[in-house]
């Protein structure tokens, strides 16, 4: 054949002229490209930092609460003027405890009990929740009626906000919730040490409340705990059983292919769809109660199953076939081989996957909204069938509250949630490090 191109078209190698191959320009492009990568990672990390910082800076104050510690006279005149408490125990329940507190504070501040306007402002310093606080004290020990006790009264949310420096006091008096006179009183109380910040145990134990200073995640924690328990008890065994079948027994046919595709898809179905499923099947069809953590747990179980199955299958796959061959060779049945040898070896991987699945379930909100866990629940649920909320749902409800003090509560609750997630994830990492096996 003939060729149009002669070899001379390509220069011989003997002494090639130095070619300009644009090194400078190309290295500039190289540096630019690298910089894009670093910029992208920095962008992501910056926002991770911003997110955490915004939550922590807004929320760390929620773990302290302002209280007013003053001598309170449990005046019989106010609590039980007609001395009926022997005959009618309800009397102590309904007594006018806010007045007890108000009078005590007025006395400390030197406000006359006749000055109604001033009294109203005094009342504005203390939380409404002291009604239950004092009531519980009296009911626990009716003998304190008529005596004077030093009590730490929960301060009003507005006082709390100002005391923590979250409110701009340079704003005109008419534009804020606390008057100049009240601020003066606060300074007075603060100087005497009566007004002080204390550790806020209430945020961990209290139930829902419309008063930010008395609201806590107690009910939500219990609800979340029940749900995690249900997820663990149901999803772990079912997930492991399903994985064992699919990984060790299932023949390769269309049915198992279908299950395979199904599981992968279920892992990617939007969580809110599980909420719809729960609403239609568990509540509407089976008639389980709304707002119950049982239903929430079932929904989260279905949601977590694919994650656990995928992790378990990976863990089973990682156990080398030689182990199976060894056990089978000794005359163990296939079932014995799996349960005695393969499963224990795969356990760390399975548990790691389960913990990560649980952590996801713990932070999940959307499906729980649909099954009615958005509820104002002030009392602890005693069984999983009682109305309850969950930690992330409580965050959602508080996030929707308009009051400034709830922003602090919300951030505080988020910190609690993130701490739980941190503990779970660190646990998973440690578990993996501790038991990881390289074959």
């Amino acid at each position: 054949m003939t060729d149009a191109i002669t070899p001379a078209a390509i220069p011989a190698s003997a002494a090639p002229p130095r070619r300009d191959i644009g090194i400078k320009r190309r290295y500039a492009a190289e540096r630019r490209f690298r910089a894009y990568g670093i910029a992208a990672i920095s962008f992501g990390l910056l926002f991770l930092f911003l997110l955490l910082w915004s939550v922590v800076s807004k929320g760390y104050t929620a773990f302290q609460q302002t209280t007013i510690t003053i001598p309170v006279e449990f005046s019989e005149q106010i609590i039980d003027p007609d001395n009926e408490r022997q005959t009618d125990p309800r009397k102590l329940m309904t007594a006018n405890y806010p007045n007890v507190a108000r009078n005590a504070l007025a006395k400390v501040l030197g406000v006359s009990t006749d000055d109604r306007a001033a009294l109203r402002e005094v009342n504005g310093l203390i939380s409404d929740s002291i009604r239950t606080q004092l009531r519980d004290m009296v009911i626990a020990n009716p003998a304190i009626i008529g005596t004077t006790q030093t009590v730490s009264l929960l301060a009003h949310g507005n006082v709390d906000s100002i005391f923590k420096g979250q409110v701009d006091l340079t704003v005109g008096e008419q534009n804020r919730r606390i008057s100049d006179r009240q601020v003066g009183w606060m300074n007075e109380l603060s100087a005497s040490g009566a007004l002080a910040k204390q550790f806020n145990a209430g945020i961990f134990v209290n139930g829902a409340s419309s008063r930010p200073e008395a609201a806590g995640v107690g009910v939500a924690l219990i609800g979340s705990f029940y749900m995690m328990l249900i997820v663990l008890v149901l999803a772990l065994p079912i997930g492991v059983a399903a994985s064992i079948y699919l990984e060790e027994f299932a023949p390769k046919n269309r049915f198992t292919d279908l299950i395979e595709v199904n599981i992968n898809n279920l892992a990617a179905v939007p969580s809110i769809v599980y909420g719809l499923l729960g609403l239609a099947v568990f509540i509407n069809f089976m008639g389980l109660p709304r707002s119950a953590s049982l239903v929430g747990g079932l929904v989260l179980t279905l949601m977590t199953l694919p994650t656990i199955i995928i992790a378990t299958r990976a863990a089973l796959k990682a156990v080398p076939p030689s182990i199976r061959a060894a056990a089978l060779g000794l005359g163990a049945s296939k079932m014995q081989t799996i349960f005695h040898h393969v499963l224990p070896l795969a356990m760390p991987g399975i548990l790691t996957g389960t913990i990560i699945g649980l952590a996801h379930a713990l932070g999940e909100t959307a499906p729980l909204l649909l099954i009615g866990m958005v509820a104002f629940v002030a009392n602890y649920p005693t069984t999983p069938l009682d109305p309850s909320t969950a930690l992330p749902v409580q965050i959602y409800m508080w996030a929707n509250e308009a009051e400034r003090a709830f922003v602090e509560r919300t951030s505080g609750a988020i910190i609690i949630l993130l701490l739980f997630l941190l503990v779970m994830n660190v646990g998973a990492i440690l578990l993996r490090r501790r038991f990881e096996r390289r074959w």
């Binding site: 060729d3 191109i5 002669t6 190698s13 003997a14 191959i21 644009g22 090194i23």
Partner: protein, 271 residues
């Protein structure tokens, strides 16, 4: 399919042989992978317009040495090279020398054919394009055709230049990779066991191609097969346990080697 007459090749070779010039000079080259030393003070010169074969048992360091010649070892984590290697007069491990420029001058063909998942045309055009060697489309077409001609692949693929390079047979893929290397107009071409993944017929074609390329390029080839070394090379270097055992004219090496170990290896006593 050859474009040069046999006589022309011989003439060119004669001319080159008369004044032996060293294209690349390796002096005290050692390579470490982390703590492990893979190459011990190798001194090896590569003659211009010659095919130099590197032989030796597996793991002897022949591929490692080859990869030093265009600094492909840079891409491996923890790999450290000491000693000095020059290309013409440039120390290739000098800070002033740019690795991209070096590789444009010292091309490489790998053990397994690795065409890019692009069309045949794009595979060839890749090198010239990144280095800006073609001014326009016509130029590029010419470079592609010339390179495929050189690799003896033109007649086989000219009607399907825009089909995927991965659709070719193994031998064709390897010749495509050689054409790809040639397209950059390198001065030296390194070949790392280029025929180990090919069948005998494809191997024969590639060997023929190497023979022809010698006229214009300096070639260093690592091979596992001594017959191949004997067929394609003029100089042979024998490696053993990370050391250069012997370097000699191929004819001498296979008939009357200086070193006992070379003798044993060639006789098939080990390796």
């Amino acid at each position: 399919m050859n474009m040069m007459s046999e006589a022309a090749v011989e003439k060119a070779l004669e001319q080159k042989m008369s004044d032996v010039s060293h294209k690349m000079i390796g002096k005290d080259v050692s390579v470490y992978y982390g703590e492990k030393r893979a190459l011990f003070d190798v001194n090896l010169n590569v003659r211009e317009n010659t095919v130099t074969a590197l032989i030796g048992p597996s793991g002897c360091g022949k591929s490692t040495f080859l990869r030093c010649l265009n600094r492909m070892n840079d891409t491996i984590e923890n790999c450290r090279v000491t000693g000095k290697i020059t290309l013409d007069t440039d120390d290739i491990y000098d800070k002033e020398i740019d690795v991209v420029e070096l590789r444009a001058r010292v091309g490489m063909v790998f053990q397994k054919p690795n065409p890019f998942p692009k069309s045949i045309y794009e595979n060839i055009a890749y090198g010239p394009r990144i280095h800006g060697l073609a001014r326009n489309k016509a130029d590029m077409d010419q470079v592609v055709e010339a390179s495929l001609q050189r690799a003896g692949l033109w007649s086989e693929v000219k009607d399907r230049l825009h089909e995927s390079g991965t659709g070719l047979s193994g031998g064709q893929q390897q010749r495509l990779c050689i054409a790809r290397a040639v397209a950059v107009s390198p001065e030296v071409i390194l070949m790392d066991e280029p025929c180990s993944a090919l069948d005998p017929i494809a191997t024969a074609k590639v060997e023929e191609l190497i023979h022809e390329l010698r006229a214009n390029y300096t070639i260093v080839i690592v091979t596992h097969s001594m017959q191949q070394a004997a067929r394609v090379s003029q100089r042979t270097a024998m490696f053993h346990l990370g050391q250069l055992v012997e370097e000699n004219d191929t004819d001498k090496m296979f008939t009357n080697p200086d070193d006992q170990r070379t003798q044993d290896y060639i006789m098939g006593r080990f390796g």
